[in-house]
């Protein structure tokens, strides 16, 4: 394997609140290789977005990265000054957001936003930035890019706005794109089309992507690797085939069981019993033990080893990925 684009080691991010310290990330290890598409899956509150914000170092006070390292293309991001970090954002790693309705500034035309940000991140004159913008709008299947460039965000539909965001992000020529559920807010047909376009462009440009989602269907279709997150830890990591065909961690199995199946006779939707633990006071031992169907007595007290995030592995005392 060539040098990874992103390598996260033992990342711990905590929020100091008046009620106590919330440990949002508790030792995350994750690797994104060049040209790899990694899905980061988990329930709400599992720490997916905090992971993304930590990579960009955009954790709002009172949050703080307490421990660990984040390496992007061999550079230690946590050691950079805030000015250097500002250079990294956009040029090396950038993010696509969830809600297309608010992801563009309503007071500027698409042209001025794209030219401003592309020019800023690529150090090119406006005319060249506009050319790049036009090319990428074309690439995301936008009919009549000039007309779109002249428009204001309120004149575009959600699907179009999201494609403008994608085109803009691609225009920065980053090494890594963090996508925070960029298709969730779109209706399903548009979602599928936007995903297809995105997928084509990604493979064409050989980009690395960290795709944050709670939608396993999206992961199956889009990603090479999957990291399953639970309570601020990655509980299982592996290729898409590993995760879908040989799920090891009980949480991953339960998660897969919840996908509704059209071939299954009508029944109630399956859910995982219980709820995500409050990170102010995470359970002792394995964080999943209160909800785990396979929990053994030792799961209450012993914390399983964290996954390394480079081969199929589950952070579980009972099950071992290599056994299967």
């Amino acid at each position: 394997m060539s040098d990874p684009v992103l390598e996260i080691r033992d990342l711990e991010t905590a929020f100091d609140t008046s009620a106590g310290t919330v440990e949002a990330l508790r030792g995350v290890n994750l690797t994104v290789g060049a040209g790899e598409r990694v899905g980061l899956v988990g329930e709400s509150g599992s720490g997916k977005s905090v992971t993304a914000q930590s990579i960009l170092r955009l954790i709002d006070s009172p949050g703080e990265i307490a421990n660990g390292s984040i390496t992007l293309n061999g550079r230690d991001l946590l050691g950079l000054s805030s000015r250097e970090m500002q250079q990294v954002r956009g040029r090396d790693v950038t993010m696509i957001f969830q809600d297309p309705s608010t992801s563009l500034d309503p007071v500027y035309s698409v042209r001025s936003q794209m030219v401003e940000t592309i020019g800023h991140n690529r150090d090119v004159p406006d005319s060249e930035a506009e050319e790049i913008a036009r090319n990428y709008l074309d690439l995301v299947d936008m009919p009549n890019p000039d007309r779109v460039l002249d428009s204001y965000p309120h004149e575009l539909s959600g699907g179009m706005k999201q494609r403008v965001s994608i085109a803009m992000t691609l225009g920065f020529d980053p090494d890594l794109i963090i996508a925070d559920e960029p298709t969730t807010a779109l209706d399903v047909t548009v979602q599928k089309k936007v995903m297809e376009i995105f997928k084509d462009v990604i493979s064409e440009e050989d980009l690395s992507v960290l795709w944050i989602t709670h939608n396993l269907g999206v992961v199956a279709e889009f990603c090479d690797k999957v990291a399953v997150m639970y309570a601020g830890e990655i509980v299982e990591y592996g290729s898409v085939y590993d995760i879908f065909d040989r799920p090891t961690h009980p949480y991953t199995r339960e998660l897969l069981r919840t996908i509704p199946n059209i071939n299954r006779p009508a029944e109630e939707l399956r859910v995982i019993e219980g709820s995500v633990p409050h990170m102010l006071d995470p359970p002792s031992g394995c964080a999943f033990h209160p909800r785990c169907p396979d929990a053994e007595p030792e799961c209450r007290t012993m914390r399983p080893e964290q996954v390394d995030g480079d081969h199929h592995e589950a952070s579980c005392l009972v099950h071992d990925a290599t056994e299967q």
């Binding site: 500002q86 950038t94 940000t117 991140n121 007309r147 428009s151």
Partner: protein, 311 residues
């Protein structure tokens, strides 16, 4: 996951997108949109009255030397406190100066104070409010405390204090009014910024490495100031009232400059014998303040339809 056959009409979707792009701009050019805005504003009758009167006052202020029949400082010993007549439509004051001409020239001072003091307050308030909202924490505490402190003093007291430290003149009046009113805009913009910064385009601006200065001045402030425009208009009326009060107390613009507040004050001892000395400048003050309020309310209803209360 099982394979399912889906019948998604990709061609249809592509057509739809194409149609959509074709429709861009069908809402009209900038000029047309401005026309729509003016048309909506015109539905609010009182705002038309307000805007009309203000335009009238502005024209008078600009062309004061051409319109006024006399110089505002021209003394006429033969017509002291003369009542309204053809030669002096609003009468004359104790020095025989033509009140009509002085009211006309007074509009210059009034508008100048309204626009300049609110302009200063608006700029200072917007910038400090945006900084407070964006950075939060200590910056926010400092700005908030400053606002609370300035609000502890009524405008008149602030003017009295400033006028006694500095000398009472136009600059002092402008400074006092700006000092009292900047907090209004700072609070407003701060609140807007607090909600804007949760929106994704601001987060995205951070995620793509724009500097704080760019985020604040290019993205936060332009999005946050629209409601402040309404307040500016409404507060311009207040600014004129404060300026007139300071002049009335002799702490504002100094005689012999034609200021409505000074004229009002000069006529108060003759109110029973020469009512015109105070009444005409008083009416001018009332009309201008009312016009600003009418226009401001119309703007508020047009810009934020949620607040609409049909009148």
């Amino acid at each position: 996951m099982s394979e399912r056959t889906t019948s998604i009409d990709w061609e249809g979707l592509a057509d739809e997108w194409e149609d959509e792009v074709e429709q861009i701009g069908s809402a009209g050019s900038r000029l047309q949109r401005l026309t729509y805005f003016v048309r909506d504003l015109a539905k609010h009758r009182l705002s038309v009255v307000g805007a009309g009167l203000l335009m009238f006052v502005a024209v008078i202020a600009v062309f004061a030397p051409q319109i006024a029949p006399y110089s505002p400082t021209e003394v006429n010993p033969t017509a002291i406190r003369a009542g309204p007549s053809v030669a002096h439509p609003f009468g004359t004051d104790s020095l025989g100066r033509d009140i009509f001409s002085r009211v006309i020239f007074g509009s210059r001072i009034a508008l100048q104070i309204a626009v300049t003091s609110m302009g200063i307050a608006f700029v200072i308030g917007s910038v400090l409010g945006a900084l407070a909202g964006y950075y939060g924490g200590k910056v926010d505490s400092v700005v908030q405390t400053a606002i609370d402190t300035t609000w502890a003093f009524p405008a008149i007291i602030m003017g009295l204090a400033l006028a006694s430290i500095l000398e009472p003149n136009l600059t002092t009046v402008l400074a006092a009014i700006a000092l009292v009113f900047w907090g209004v805009f700072a609070r407003l913009v701060r609140g807007e910024v607090l909600s804007l910064r949760e929106l994704e385009f601001i987060k995205a601006s951070e995620a793509i490495g724009l500097s704080d200065t760019k985020i604040i001045f290019r993205h936060l402030i332009p999005n946050a100031i629209v409601p402040a425009f309404v307040v500016v208009t409404l507060q311009m009326g207040n600014a004129i009232a404060v300026a007139a009060s300071l002049s009335f107390l002799g702490l504002g613009v100094q005689p012999p400059t034609a200021s409505w507040g000074i004229m009002l004050s000069a006529g108060r001892q003759y109110i029973t014998t020469a009512w015109w000395i105070s009444v005409f400048p008083g009416l001018a003050i009332v009309i201008v303040i009312m016009s600003f309020n009418f226009l401001g309310e119309g703007l508020r209803d047009t810009i934020d339809p949620k607040l609409e209360n049909n009148r």
